[in-house]
């Protein structure tokens, strides 16, 4: 069981009326945080639901720790903590009731850690869920998932309703999970700043397809925006891996997705500045580039 990847998708296809997730192959390795980024409607939540066995693929295979999903979902979920912004607790019960409930189901429940998180998240066991704000409810859901010390945490927009302080706290708990190298996290979020910070690996999804998946540092090293000034009459040397080009008059900006020292050498003196790109900028440029190539 420990030799299996926490998540494995092989050629997964899922068709809906207006949207199809197609040929999705994805691996999450143990001890990794994978950030899952995509525009709205790209298929992030669909992918996560397929992973949890809430949807059945039309083709292909989904396995969690080697368990085939959705058939073995009840067994697989013993080692998983799944949190989504689309879930809520029993509104009329208390935080404490939920703690006892979940603690009685999961043998790996860590009561001390649960108490620590209660303090850290500023929640009290006597509080009724109904009386909590949406951010606090989300924190409660996260607490219940974290305190069972799962081997895999699947998070779908977990910080959607959070103020910056709460986000900072929660992000700290996520990276803390990985102190144990046998535990992993799949983290889907619009918040590219957070994803950029804590992810080891990043997968981009757009319109039902996985368009890119590599180590975060790879992304950050390969992508650059280069500002150029080419005097009138002169032409720009052709360089490979240009995915975006904008110019007015003498000035141009190139977006490169495989930057090397060679690139600069080839461009020579035309280069005015080289900018690294944030994950958000890479993501937008990557999506635009793929949409263009797909339509052509």
């Amino acid at each position: 069981m420990s030799t299996f990847n926490p998540i494995e998708f092989r050629g997964v296809r899922k068709a809906f009326r207006f949207f199809t997730l197609d040929d999705l192959s994805l691996d999450l390795e143990p001890g990794q945080i994978m950030g899952f980024v995509g525009p709205n409607g790209a298929g992030k939540s669909t992918t996560i639901r397929l992973a949890l066995g809430l949807l059945t693929p039309d083709a292909g295979e989904v396995r969690l720790f080697g368990h085939r999903m959705p058939e073995a979902q009840a067994v697989a979920k013993r080692d998983i903590g799944y949190v989504s912004d689309e879930m809520r607790l029993f509104q009329n019960a208390t935080v404490g009731w939920h703690l006892r409930f979940v603690a009685s189901i999961y043998p790996g429940w860590d009561e001390d850690y649960a108490r620590t998180l209660l303090k850290r998240f500023n929640l009290r066991t006597e509080q009724t869920v109904k009386g909590l704000s949406s951010g606090e409810q989300m924190k409660a859901v996260l607490l219940l998932a974290l305190a069972r010390r799962p081997k895999l945490l699947v998070l779908d927009e977990p910080t959607a309703n959070f103020d910056p302080v709460a986000r900072h706290e929660v992000l700290g708990e996520f990276t803390d999970v990985l102190r144990d190298e046998s535990r992993s996290i799949l983290f889907s979020s619009h918040n590219t700043v957070d994803v950029e910070r804590i992810s080891d690996r990043i997968a981009f999804i757009d319109r039902g397809r996985l368009i890119d998946s590599r180590d975060k540092e790879d992304f950050l090293e390969r992508w650059r925006r280069i500002e150029l000034q080419v005097p009138a009459g002169a032409t720009l040397p052709e360089i490979p891996h240009v995915v975006g080009r904008e110019s007015d008059g003498q000035f141009a900006t190139l977006t490169i997705n495989q930057f090397t020292k060679d690139t600069l050498a080839r461009l020579g003196g035309a280069v005015r500045r080289v900018h690294r790109m944030s994950l958000e900028e890479i993501f937008v440029a990557n999506v635009m580039h793929h949409r263009e190539t797909r339509s052509s």
Partner: protein
């Protein structure tokens, strides 16, 4: 042990470089003495709330600079002889200067023009700080 290390995401410099610089500072200042064991990659990542891969990269680069030494299975330690780190940095500098000279030759710059550009670059660096 490392609560003073701070990673800024609005800084132009990548996170792994920030980590490297702050570790080098501590070693140079003597806070982290020669032979001292560094926190494990995972522990530092968790402590700074950054990805493991970023810390891994920082440690790998620090090791190739000779600033730290990694003993397989045991951990990473501040290198005993830190003069070595200086030598490696100087070798790196020479490498970069050679590459710059090649480009300059390609552009038809004279040695004086190249030197002037280098001085301007150094001045710009000061301005940025």
């Amino acid at each position: 042990m490392y609560s003073g290390i701070h990673i800024s995401q609005t800084d132009e410099r990548p996170m792994y470089l920030q980590i490297m610089e702050q570790i080098r500072q501590r070693i140079a200042a003597g806070d982290w003495a020669a032979g001292k064991e560094l926190p494990s990659i995972r522990a530092l990542a968790a402590g700074l709330s950054v990805s493991v891969i970023t810390v891994k990269r920082a440690y790998l680069d620090l090791e190739s600079e000779g600033v730290i030494v990694t003993r397989h299975g045991k951990g990473s330690f501040v290198a005993e002889v830190n003069g070595l780190a200086g030598e490696l940095q100087e070798a790196k500098l020479d490498e970069h200067l050679e590459a710059a000279a090649v480009i300059a030759r390609g552009l038809g710059l004279t040695d004086e023009e190249l030197a002037a550009r280098l001085r301007r670059a150094a001045r710009d660096l000061e301005k940025k700080k």
